[in-house]
Amino acid sequence: MADTAVAVPHGHHPAHEHHGPQGIWKYLWSTDHKMIAMQYMFTGMFMAVIGGFMAYVFRMQLAFPGVSVPGFGQVSPGEYNALITNHGSIMIFWVAMPVLIAAFGNYVIPLMIGADDMVFPRINRLSYQIFLLSVLVLLASFFVPGGGFGGAWTAYPPLSAVGEYNQTNLGSTLWLIAVILEFVAFLLGGINFITTLMNSRAPGMRAYDIPFVCWMIVIASILFMLSVGPLVAGAIMLLFDQTIGTGFYDPARGGDPILWQHLFWFFGHPEVYVVLLPAIGITVDIIATFARKKLFGYKLMLYTVIATGVLSFFVWAHHQFIAGIDPRMAHIFTVTTLLISVPIAELVFLIIATLYGGSITLSTPMLWALAFVAEFIIGGVTGIFLGASGADIYLHDTYFVLAHFHYTFFPIAIIGTFAGFTYWFPKMFGKMMDDTLGKIHFWGTVIPFNLIFIPLFVLGMGGQHRRIYNYEHFPELAGQGMYQLRQVATISLLVMLAFQLVFFYNCIKSWRSGPKAPKNPWLANTLEWTAESPPPHGNWPPDRMPKVYRGPYEYAHPDVAEDYWPQDQPA
């Protein structure tokens, strides 16, 4: 089989179009990287709706305690725990990861490097199927006796290990199995991304001709692969503690609960960068396209990201400053944590330098990309307070922490995703999106987002602890001013959720009746814009695969008449 494929690559009719599955199976059983990307994208969006609904329910309970939440009813303390736990887990493991890494990675990597598919299409399909299984296991965990897991997404033992403590004996086991399956799915996907980028680039594409977003997704996959292993081992140990009664995390039996915190955060902190890097890559590509300028310092940008990735393995204990860690050790982790802001700041300056002097078009994707940079800076700067062990002892486990990481994760998972989605929508669906509706959706998302989390910063500095079901039981946290801030946050959330309807309406309307998209609507240089919109199976005709002659960001080059110079155009 392999030999015939070498001699006649695909022929005129690729064999898997002929013998491939038909009908509905074409969508469920496809090995095409674009179809798998769409599966990841829509599964991730579906989970985002569930995660958003959870946020709505518990924000209502926090702002108006005891109210019967429309669409849910009274929130009991146990349900509240399950809601916050699964909101966090879903948004990180089942929204940010599948959409930013798997969906965009699958969609753009083969197209941007001029390949017809991933190197292992069937492993790619297997990766999605395992991911789908993890989704089903997680969804099933909500309906078992006791309800979904209620031990927080960080799952610290003994709370997560002992059924009498978390009150969700079955839910916690199913949650853990779902997380392990999800890790396996992304390990398989990651190996595919890394190998594809290393081995399957178009002829002529050197390392520094690779579009930035491809680099970012692959570096993120490597970070994920190198950080998740210890947590896989740790999760197996926790599973045994829960189900067969071992004592890995039980000090009374020679175990150690802090061990889980180390294993979890050794993965958990690099995980932030695992989802951050694809968002940065998307942003950088969009900014270069809509500023019509060559990326400022491509190599330097790449090196800063690699430095960030390496440093991210040495900062994990800043999550454990109040866990009884030796203060001398806390100093070391304070220094490494603050050091990481140097390459990230460098990166932001390089993005600003790219914008400087460009002829900027404020299209919808560009607005999202700029908002990502602006909002992420707020998330980064507030992180400095938490990275310093002295300040963290006061702020730990308050809403300040919560607002901080939402100021990083929201730009990453939501703003970054919308940036990429609106940018590649013409390629994915062959139709142009409505720009006015896109801008209404943009402002209707970004303004309420700030109005949700700025009050939470203030509340956190005022000492409002996380993980409290009803603040009326805590007189010092139940003042009228604090309730007003909580209500501002909740009402802003309602406004933001309402504006998401504009997005869904825009998607459906543009997909059904939008103007047909040309091959290259943004006049961009990278290879995906040389394929049809949407690209057929195999992306290009097998005998006319693209060749690469230059880097991806040759905008406004003095030697050519147009202000862009596609990568595949011979000099």
């Binding site: 990651g190 190998t195 190198l226 292993g229 947590l231 081992a233 140990m237 045994f240 061990l259």
Partner: protein, 192 residues
């Protein structure tokens, strides 16, 4: 099901065949999984000198025999690779079957050993040393089982002269399974 490999699979920009490149990344991810588990075990072991009392009850001779079996099976895997390089798929398949035989011997000895230990009361919940013992060796045994099954498929294809490059890939994986055991044996059996 027929499946035409895309051009992407057949390209090799790095000069390393795609399959070999991927298998090294698989091993990288495996190294950190076992690394995390063994690192946790080591930290605990250093903090709990009394675990030596439990470790006394592991049987060094059975462990040594299994080490010998696994090393031998790695040797036949190398010979299978050599045969595949020369294009002799039938010989490669036979040598792979010998390797699977090694894997089965390993697993049979292991289950007899575990049966003996469990019947003496040294179960996975006896104490945390035994928890680590069964978890680490169990995770390793899962890799032995997975490797043996995949090797069966590779041997089936190799016997018909198909996908001979996979003989090398499963061999690389098999050496890794071997190396993990080389770490487990002293940590769980020899250290008293």
């Amino acid at each position: 099901m027929s499946f035409a490999k895309p051009q992407a699979t057949l390209r090799s920009v790095t000069g390393i065949p795609t399959g070999r490149l991927a298998i090294w990344w698989v091993l990288a991810s495996e190294v950190v999984i076992f690394g995390g588990l063994l690192g946790s075990y080591l930290m605990h072991r250093i903090g709990h000198p009394e675990w030596a009392d439990a470790a006394v009850h592991t049987n060094v001779w059975i462990g040594a025999f299994n080490t010998f079996v696994l090393l031998t099976s790695s040797f036949t895997a190398v010979l299978a690779h050599q045969a595949a390089e020369t294009g002799d798929g039938k010989k490669a398949a036979k040598l792979l079957m010998l390797t699977i035989g090694g894997a089965l011997t390993f697993l049979i000895v292991k289950s007899a050993e575990w049966t003996m230990e469990i019947s003496h009361g040294y179960t996975i919940t006896a104490n945390t040393f035994w928890s680590f013992y069964y978890t680490a060796a169990g995770l390793h045994a899962m890799h032995v089982i997975a490797g043996a099954i995949i090797m069966g498929f590779v041997a089936f294809d190799a016997y018909r002269g198909r996908e001979l490059q996979r003989v090398e890939l499963i061999g690389i994986y098999w050496h890794f399974v071997d190396v993990v055991w080389i770490f487990l044996f002293p940590l769980l059996y020899i250290a008293k």
